[in-house]
């Protein structure tokens, strides 16, 4: 209960500061939107030259991209910890976090929320509805529930990777520029995994589970039965990877000695 009320207090505080600079707030949303438009334009132009991409049609690829946007938006809104090492360890901010009576990771996440990223959920839903309608996808009554579960699972998988990498900061002081690299690898999950070779497919499934953010869960809604096993594994994979990453984080916190000044 305490955690829930903390969450809402941070959110309301955040809204106050953000709405102070409204123009900036809308610019952020606009530039995210522009990015998404560019990615869509890419898909549209490419399909001007081919009918299928490894057996996936244009609308299916667009659907996967739309689905990807939703867990990605959840992740970017709540797990904005790519600069954790610089911001908390090098500057010694972690000391302050550790003196407070809530879990350190929870607090870091609350301090770094960026709710405007949630707008990606809206764009994602619009894209999904558009492509879903043109594909004549049928919905079962339980599909919305699965949709929510898969989205959360995907977001957790994404978050797990970034939490695990942020935890490296506890062991080594070296500047971790691995984070931006991860954002780029994450883009691989936006397209069907069958276009990649075996090694990359394995990595995207079991090592850095980015495929569970886009193509695997989306293939359930596209009724691609050969991928059902992976699709249904999405929430399990998300939770499992997330739990492992929290364990790594907790181990790291035990080792934390402070930057000292």
């Amino acid at each position: 209960m305490f955690y829930v009320s903390m969450f809402f207090q941070y959110v309301s505080q955040y809204m106050k500061t953000r709405l102070q600079y409204r123009a900036d707030f809308f610019m952020e949303i606009l530039s995210d939107l522009l990015n998404q438009v560019v990615n869509l334009v890419f898909i549209l132009v490419v399909f001007g030259h081919t009918q299928f991409l490894s057996g996936w049609s244009r609308e299916e690829i667009i659907f996967i991209y739309g689905f990807f946007l939703i867990p990605f938006a959840l992740f970017s809104a709540f797990f904005n910890i790519w600069d954790f090492n610089d911001r908390y360890i090098v500057k010694g901010e972690m000391d302050r976090i550790l003196t407070r009576p809530i879990h350190s990771l929870f607090q870091v996440i609350l301090e770094r929320i960026e709710l405007e990223s949630l707008f990606g959920v809206v764009t994602g839903l619009i894209i999904i509805v558009y492509s879903g309608v043109s594909l004549n996808l049928e919905l079962a009554w339980y599909d919305p529930i699965l949709f929510i579960l898969f989205s959360i699972g995907g977001a957790l998988a994404y978050a797990a990777i970034f939490i695990a990498i942020a935890s490296i900061g506890f062991w080594s002081d070296a500047k971790t520029s691995i984070m931006p690299m991860m954002y780029n690898i994450g883009n691989y999950g936006r397209y069907p995994v069958d276009i990649y070779n075996k090694v990359i497919r394995f990595v995207l499934t079991w090592v850095l589970p980015f495929a569970f953010v886009g193509v695997y869960p989306a293939s359930y809604f596209l009724r691609k039965e050969e991928w059902y096993a992976y699709a249904f594994a999405t929430p399990v994979v998300g939770v499992a990877f997330f739990m492992v990453s929290v364990v790594i984080w907790n181990q790291g916190v035990k080792r934390y000695r402070g930057a000292g000044n």
Binding site: V45, T50, S177, Y188, Y191, I195
Partner: protein, 263 residues
């Protein structure tokens, strides 16, 4: 002239001190090239060529477009914006050099550094991993070099323009981000211009962006006939000249209404 050369040298040495940051940069670009390599392979499928480019040429195009970006890309628009915001620009303007010229030289110093420590090793790395066809004719290499220099100038001019708008907009972080996305799309970095629908190609003919990435990359991949090369280079050159005009005009107006926002 000497002072501008010193600027290039200083920026080069500064970058050299932080060179380890660039090793991950090469990896990131290689990861991006990899993503597009697999994507294009799937797009080509059975087809031997699309819009006159074979799949091997396409891989080369993607690789050279990204590695050339390492050379022409710079953040001087953001640097100008910060210098205006914290008031440093006032000091810069009373110094005995042209502020915009100095910024351009810093960008060039950065570009030269990245050319040797990023583009060349990066190109060697991706040539080992992916099937890439390097040009065989020495002439192609030198024409590519000229074209790449033009692409640096055009990109820098656009950056200067974006930077100067800070004088009028005060906070243009959003504009800078939007500009970067637009250049990635319209310059041909993500997609060769010839892949766009005809109407879009018509529109882009009248924009300076394809001079940034499409022209040098097409030259490198032998995607142009010799007549087209001449036209493309001429087009780049014309844009270099045209873009001087709005920069100078904006700069004159901007100097008159400079407001320092603190510092």
């Amino acid at each position: 002239m000497g002072k501008y050369l010193a600027m290039i040298r200083m920026r080069f040495l500064m970058m050299l001190a932080y060179r380890t940051d660039y090793y991950t940069g090469i990896l990131i670009y290689s990861i991006n090239i990899g993503a597009y390599y697999f994507l294009w392979n799937a797009i080509y499928g059975e087809k031997s060529s699309i819009e006159g480019l074979s799949s091997m040429q396409m891989t080369t195009y993607v690789a050279v477009a990204w590695m050339a970006r390492a050379f022409y890309f710079n953040n001087i628009d953001r640097e100008i914006a910060t210098e205006i915001k914290d008031g440093k620009v006032a000091i810069e303007m009373i110094r005995p050099y042209n502020y915009l010229g100095m910024k351009t030289m810093q960008g060039l110093g950065e570009g030269i550094f990245r050319f040797f420590f990023f583009s060349i090793p990066g190109m060697l790395l991706v040539a080992l991993i992916f099937p890439i066809e390097l040009p065989k004719e020495p002439a192609t290499w030198s024409i590519f070099g000229v074209s790449l220099l033009f692409s640096f100038i055009i990109n820098t001019q656009i950056n200067l323009l974006t930077g100067i708008t800070t004088f009028f907009l005060y906070n243009n972080a959003g504009l800078i981000r939007a500009k970067r996305v637009i250049i990635d799309l319209f310059s041909g970095l993500l997609l060769p211009i010839s892949f766009y629908p005809m109407w879009a190609q018509e529109v882009m003919k009248y924009l300076p962006f394809q001079g940034i990435s499409y022209v040098p990359s097409m030259i490198f991949t032998n995607g142009y006939s010799s007549g087209e090369i001449g036209m493309a280079l001429l087009q780049q050159f014309i844009w270099v000249v045209i873009l001087i005009i709005p920069i100078q005009l904006l700069w004159i107006v901007a100097k008159k209404q400079l407001i320092i926002q603190g510092g």
